[in-house]
């Protein structure tokens, strides 16, 4: 006889799905750039906004964004939060800073990890630069960007990034 136990109410049954993902023409250009340690954006021929990463068309004007734009390594933290919640599958040690980073010359921000600065000193307007993984680790993924770190420049003016938070 088994000893008395709590009734089983749920079972975790991990499953695995393998799939092929085709990145498409526009995103592939961006991913190849990342594999070389640089950011590649695309400009909309109608509104001139620079998207990075671009999906190949402008979401506002609905036209192809064919013109490639080489972007630099620096940008501005437009807003951020400090993640302090553990969850299944988490790969970064908490607490960590997730920021919206607006690269210089781009018109849309993307999520980036901020490191090499104490959490309580991160602020909106902080100037940052990308730190890439070792050259032999570079690949076609945002994971090629290890994190962003402060450049030491003066903070950007609020007016310069307020529409990109």
């Amino acid at each position: 006889m088994a000893e008395a136990r709590e009734p089983v109410t749920t079972l975790d049954t991990p499953i695995r799905l393998e799939y092929l993902f085709s990145a498409g023409i526009a995103q592939s250009k961006n991913l190849r750039g990342l594999a070389e340690g640089r950011f590649v954006g695309q400009r909309c021929p109608v509104c001139s906004k620079v998207y990075v990463p671009s999906r190949g068309s402008c979401p506002v004007d609905g036209v192809p964004t064919d013109e490639e734009v080489a972007l630099g390594n620096t940008g501005t933290v437009t807003t951020f939060c400090v993640v302090n919640v553990p969850f299944a599958g988490q790969s970064i040690e908490i607490p960590y800073i997730v920021a919206q980073v607006l690269l210089d010359g781009a018109d849309i921000s993307f999520m980036g990890l901020i490191q090499e600065i104490p959490a309580d000193q991160v602020r909106m307007g902080l100037r940052v630069e990308a730190v890439w993984v070792e050259p032999d680790q570079l690949g076609p993924s945002m994971a090629s960007v290890k994190h962003f770190r402060p450049t030491g420049e003066p903070d950007a003016e609020y007016a310069s990034y307020k529409d990109y938070t």
Partner: protein
């Protein structure tokens, strides 16, 4: 031709962290039976069923509407599923209402649910995407930076979010169906809770709930018959609208999204609302994180841009003396069965108009607003309900 439509029955479950006494089918059936009973109807009276829930990955049951059809009396009847992320409960109600206004059906059952204890929402919302850095950290991780941007833009003081967290939990004490009943809630308690996604404390975030909501929507004829049978008046739909916008485009205002503003303008125009703060007696608005109350006060035009926090600060949105009580049910901050959370807003607004909200009733409510939003603030659904036949 557009026919009139009214809410003639409402039902919801007791929302809880874990409803292990019921399966998903049992959960939706509990809400649906209550809605039918409230409408004085049986399964045979229903023409069609419209169901909604958050993405299937949450519970890991793909297309659950198929297996739920028998539990909802939908065998041999039209059943359809709606998908609009967190706003889905609202969109589902609107799709059901359109089946009546279009003259296709007389009585439509609409149901929405989530069984979060069967799921892992933090995981489901944070799955690594191909070629991306694994930075996503649940809904809070997505919305907290926008909250910070709102605080910067409006100059709101830091206590505003905590004030909403306390107000909605105090109001939840008057709602027997609410998940969280925290009689000792206070600013100090919120402030001392863990800072999960700085600037958001644990108690400024919604709970994880199991729960379901259901409504019976009826045509003019069905509403008249139900009122005779039950003695309960219908809540007439005076306006309904949905809007969406892309999640990412240059210059997107994520703090005050255009889709939300345009959705509100549309629904107000239909209902003849010109001054929402004056014209509504109360509102049920999707506030899963405390700061979304002041943000949506602005987005919904209850005040000028930048002034939302002042209404919250002045107590204007409180049932306790405020002129425009928001989320008298306790809102999403007190019960969050995700897929049902939007429908609960729509249902609670209807309960207020019908005078059926019990202890959290705002006396004399003649017109109420319900709003649900979802995804990265890109899906909006709203309706205006009132006592008068439009």
């Amino acid at each position: 031709m557009s026919e009139r439509v009214a809410v003639i029955g409402t039902g919801q479950t007791k929302h809880a962290a874990k409803r292990d006494d019921v399966s998903i089918a049992g959960l939706v059936r509990e809400a649906a039976l209550r809605a039918l009973e409230d409408a004085g109807l049986g399964w045979a009276d229903i023409d069609a069923v419209v169901i909604g829930k958050a993405p299937d990955m949450f519970e890991g049951v793909m297309m659950p509407e198929l297996y739920l059809a028998p539990a909802l009396g939908a065998v041999g009847k039209p059943i359809m599923r709606v998908h609009t992320a967190g706003s889905v409960g609202g969109s589902t109600a609107l799709v059901a209402a359109h089946l009546v206004t279009s003259g296709i059906h007389d009585r439509v059952l609409t149901v929405a649910f989530e069984k979060q204890s069967d799921s892992d929402a933090m995981w489901a919302l944070s799955v690594p995407q191909p070629f991306s850095a694994p930075l996503l950290a649940g809904a809070g991780g997505y919305f907290a930076p926008h909250i910070r941007a709102y605080m910067r833009r409006s100059g709101a003081p830091g206590h505003i979010g905590m004030q909403v967290a306390v107000k909605d939990r105090l109001q939840a004490l008057k709602n027997p169906y609410a998940h969280l009943h925290l009689p000792d809630i206070s600013i100090e308690m919120v402030e001392q809770s863990v800072m999960l996604w700085d600037p958001l404390h644990y108690l400024e975030a919604c709970p994880s709930s199991d729960g379901a909501a259901a409504m019976v929507l009826g045509s003019e004829q069905a509403a008249a018959a139900a009122q005779v049978d039950t003695g309960r008046r219908p809540a007439w739909v005076h306006g309904m609208a949905m809007r969406s916008e892309p999640t990412m485009f240059a210059g997107r205002d994520q703090i005050n999204p255009r889709a939300g503003r345009e959705c509100a303008a549309d629904v107000y125009r239909q209902a003849g609302v010109t001054d929402p703060r004056r014209d509504f007696d109360c509102a049920e608005v999707y506030v899963p994180f405390s700061w979304y109350e002041p943000m949506w006060l602005e987005n919904l035009g209850f005040c000028d841009e930048g002034d939302g926090w002042k209404l919250t600060d002045a107590g204007s949105t409180s049932m306790d003396g405020g002129d425009i009580p928001w989320n008298c049910s306790g809102g999403v901050l007190s019960s969050n069965p995700i897929g049902a959370s939007g429908m609960l807003r729509f249902l609670e607004a209807a309960m207020q108009v019908r005078g059926e909200a019990g202890e959290h009733q705002v006396d004399g409510t003649r017109r109420a607003l319900a709003q649900a939003y979802g995804g990265g603030s890109q899906f909006f659904a709203m309706w205006v309900v009132g006592t008068d036949k439009p």
